[in-house]
Symmetry: C2
Subunit: 154 residues, 2 copies
Amino acid sequence: MMVSTKGRYALTVMVDLARNEGDGYVSLSDIAERENLSMKYLESIISILNKGGMLMSLRGKNGGYKLAREPKDYNISEILLLTEGTLAPVNCIMQEGVQCEKAATCSTLPLWAGLDKAIEGYLSAITLEDIITGNRKKMLGDYCESCAPDGKAE
Amino acid sequence: MMVSTKGRYALTVMVDLARNEGDGYVSLSDIAERENLSMKYLESIISILNKGGMLMSLRGKNGGYKLAREPKDYNISEILLLTEGTLAPVNCIMQEGVQCEKAATCSTLPLWAGLDKAIEGYLSAITLEDIITGNRKKMLGDYCESCAPDGKAE
DNA sequence: ATAAATCCTACTCTGTTAGTAGGAATATGT
DNA sequence: ACATATTCCTACTAACAGAGTAGGATTTAT
């Protein structure tokens, strides 16, 4: 598994915030209740988003969080990268030039590098706004089987 | 991390077998020595490949393994799927119609489904032969930064 | 002052990963 | 027949990561 609940919930939080933008600062307890997730756990996740500059926060009564930018200005890759640490599909692909010592002769490395690129490419092309507006074409292509398990196209 | 050493070593084994095809059956100890991996661990991995019909095996002295088909007739997706169990990037995407109960209303599901599709698409387009022959264009596209960490294109 | 919120540190429980260990079954060469 | 080289099979273990929980300190609006 590449994306844990941490990254998934982080995205859920971002989507929830985007949907409730107008309301000023949104409290974590509201988000946790709406999304039916543990508030304590979300706390640790939203803290990463906040420190990473994705959010603005206000402490004290009536405090909470809101998006630092507009939904269209977040891509999914950056949200997941921040919370997960890496999106690399294998250990041999690591950040910034750090390489396996066999890299020069490894015949499978180009495969992993290519897979990494494919993942990065997909995720960085999609914005938070695409998710809010349900831009299925962008996310799934023209037709998505996995969305129609009963055999009917949507 | 989506692909563990299990899947990675499985691919390494397949590549090693493809490279040493002419020699009839190849023993596990030869592979382990060449690839510098624990033979005992490889044993458990190659057993999965064998039971999954990817290999032919011969017991006893001079025994070993060889590919059941030609390298061009294996795609990477099937090798990894067999050994890893799943390639799904998240828990909400599972096999054959099994779905999260919130699936119908989940706004992030299309993203995960699309990512899964992108991964599957990439991996199933590449064959074992592509790896043997070092088909970088197919694996990496026209230019690969991660292959030239010193800043020079190859 | 009180209540409602973020912020911070530390802990725990569980499952997965990455192996290791030991031996049984099978085939070959001498 | 026998020693040897191999696959095959079951079980075990140590370390790490994932998924939270717990408790309280700090800040701000009313």
